[in-house]
């Protein structure tokens, strides 16, 4: 699988006779321990440096929470993991981001295929202005991962996976903007999952949601491991404690401390981390 995924992000999937269901089974059977890591990664825009020599590994099938005060570089770091900063003016990086032994910033890597393997969900729900069904399968259609006749079944199965299907079964052709904020975010998760990513990046996915919706999204995120490797940026330390197995604390563009979530968030080694997690800074 390592070989096939590495080949996937460099040359693109075999689009001719792609078996959607088989792809998901293959992904689930992958046994990589650290599919994604950064090595001495420095990132900046024009003359300013945002992140300084970050080396961090994301163990397979776990949730890693990135925490830290506003402006410390967490979201920039997250967006660097699937090359979402590529089009931002003045963006530069040093060091590497390695996905399955391939540096994703190598010239041979196709960022479009990379983003299929490293999916992303954003702070605010951002469904497309199309029907609920079309939203779920938009990525599947873009990457030609399934035949047209199978799209409805895929949409239904993804919506069931995120626990949204029962609520909207008779509204598949409706506008997604009729859904509540929490339902829209679940829809965005279904859309991201539909293309079969190996890693999922979540940028404060519950920041704009109420506590009930937050709970639904957290339950889903927890249920996605160990099938997926998840990296989540959150300002909510309680959330990080609830769902993450690993945590990393960023401060002023530096990675101060990382390790098991219980250790980093409850009994940190560094004073700065302790100040943050105990609410003396933030």
């Amino acid at each position: 699988m390592t070989q096939s995924l590495a080949s996937d992000i460099t040359t693109g999937p075999n689009q001719g006779d792609f078996d959607y269901s088989q792809k998901r089974i293959d992904d689930a059977s992958s046994q990589l321990q650290v599919p994604l890591k950064t090595i001495d990664l420095s990132v900046g825009f024009s003359h300013s440096t945002i992140l300084n020599e970050i080396s961090l590994s994301f163990p397979k099938g776990t949730i890693t929470a990135l925490v830290g005060p506003t402006g410390c570089g967490k979201s920039t770091f997250l967006r660097t993991l699937n090359r979402m900063n590529d089009h931002v003016r003045g963006f530069w990086h040093k060091g590497s981001v390695v996905l399955d032994d391939v540096n994703i910033y190598d010239k041979s890597v196709d960022p479009l295929v990379l983003r299929r393997n490293v999916g992303m969900v954003f702070q605010r729900p951002n469904p497309f202005p199309m029907s609920i069904k079309d939203n779920v399968v938009s990525g599947v259609k873009a990457h030609k991962l399934a035949k047209r006749k199978d799209l409805l079944a895929i949409a239904e199965s993804q919506l069931k996976e995120v626990g949204l299907y029962d609520a909207i079964a008779d509204r598949m052709d409706d506008s997604p903007f009729r859904l509540s904020g929490g339902q829209q975010q679940l829809l965005c998760l279904a859309r991201a999952l539909a293309v079969g990513p190996e890693v999922l990046l979540l940028d404060e996915p519950t920041a704009s949601l109420d506590p009930v919706s937050t709970s639904s999204v957290e339950s889903l995120i927890s249920a996605l491991v160990p099938k997926l490797t998840i990296v989540i940026v959150t300002h909510n330390l309680a959330q990080a404690r609830r769902i993450a197995q690993h945590a990393a604390f960023f401060f002023n563009g530096e990675l101060v401390e990382h390790g098991l979530a219980a250790q980093v968030l409850e009994d940190p080694e560094h004073e700065t981390t302790a100040q943050f997690v105990t609410g003396r800074m933030g």
């Binding site: 983003r115 951002n126 202005p129 873009a142």
Partner: protein
């Protein structure tokens, strides 16, 4: 907390702003009502359905059939030529163009939109009709009218695309969509109402032009032919302009009827655009009642 005079000032200012806004509305609606009343009042007493099916000419001035068809053909041609170039230019300016080059292109487009129509018509006459030897023709008319309205369509397209929330683009990029897929699936759909509105306004402007068409389309009492060059085309604004001053009985009324028909066609274009906008807004972010 507030003094009486302060509260009184606020109330007076509030009333004054309401009055100013209402006055502005009247300034727009009143001339339109006067225009409609004037032309419909002149045309209606002499209305005859045969005007729509009879060619111009004859002792009583005839009808307007060929001019109606000529106007529709010219408008459809401008919609295709200027629509493709204008929307393409707007897409280029908003999505693909480097910033420096964009400033030059936008300035050029603004200058072009400020050139008087009669100057463009004269240019079209000297270059296309005389120099290229196209003669008075549909081709010359389409080129000049398209050059005239492309800046409007390009600007409307650019503004509509720039107003699409960044979140849609990010979502598409996050899924690994190509730039074209992002445009097609996430950007153009929500931008469609703005683009269509710009296109319709541009077509209404083109349809109402007289001077550039006199220089390029010429004049004709016959139906348009399949020839792009060397075949003059009749158009409604020609009748509005010419028949009003003709000494023949019924000419002035024919002129008013042509004006009414132009208003009706513009109204139909606006209704068509509303329909397109309604359909394209079915899944709009601003339409939380969309769907079934």
């Amino acid at each position: 907390m507030f003094s009486k005079s302060h509260l009184l000032r606020r109330k007076i200012l509030d009333k004054a702003m309401w009055a100013l806004a209402t006055f502005s509305l009247v300034c727009i609606v009143a001339p339109l009502a006067w225009l409609v009343w004037g032309v419909v009042g002149r045309a209606l007493p002499h209305w005859n359905w045969s005007l729509l099916t009879t060619k111009p000419g004859g002792a009583n001035g005839g009808g307007l059939s060929t001019l109606i068809v000529g106007t529709l053909v010219i408008t459809a041609g401008v919609a295709v030529v200027a629509g493709i170039i204008g929307i393409g230019s707007g897409l280029y300016l908003s999505e693909l163009c480097p910033e420096g080059k964009g400033k030059i292109l936008r300035t050029a487009s603004e200058v072009l939109s400020g050139v008087p129509a009669i100057v463009l018509g004269f240019l079209g006459y000297t270059v296309l009709v005389v120099e290229f030897k196209w003669g008075f023709s549909l081709g010359a008319a389409l080129v000049v009218l398209s050059i005239m309205v492309v800046p409007y369509i390009a600007k409307a397209t650019e503004v509509a695309i720039l107003q699409v929330p960044t979140a849609f683009r990010e979502a598409a990029e996050g899924l690994g969509m190509t730039r074209w897929q992002t445009l097609r699936r996430a950007v153009l759909k929500p931008a469609a109402p703005g683009i269509v509105t710009g296109l319709i306004i541009a077509l209404a402007i083109a349809m109402g032009e007289t001077a550039p068409l006199l220089y390029t389309a010429g004049a004709s009492n016959n139906f348009p032919t399949s020839h792009i060059t060397h075949s003059p085309v009749g158009f409604l604004t020609y009748a509005v302009w010419t028949d009003y001053n003709q000494p023949l009985a019924g000419s002035a009324e024919l002129s008013a009827t042509a004006a009414v028909l132009l208003l009706v066609i513009v109204l139909m274009l606006i209704l068509l655009s509303r329909l397109v906008i309604r359909v394209s807004k079915k899944y709009s972010i601003n339409n939380s009642h969309g769907g079934r």
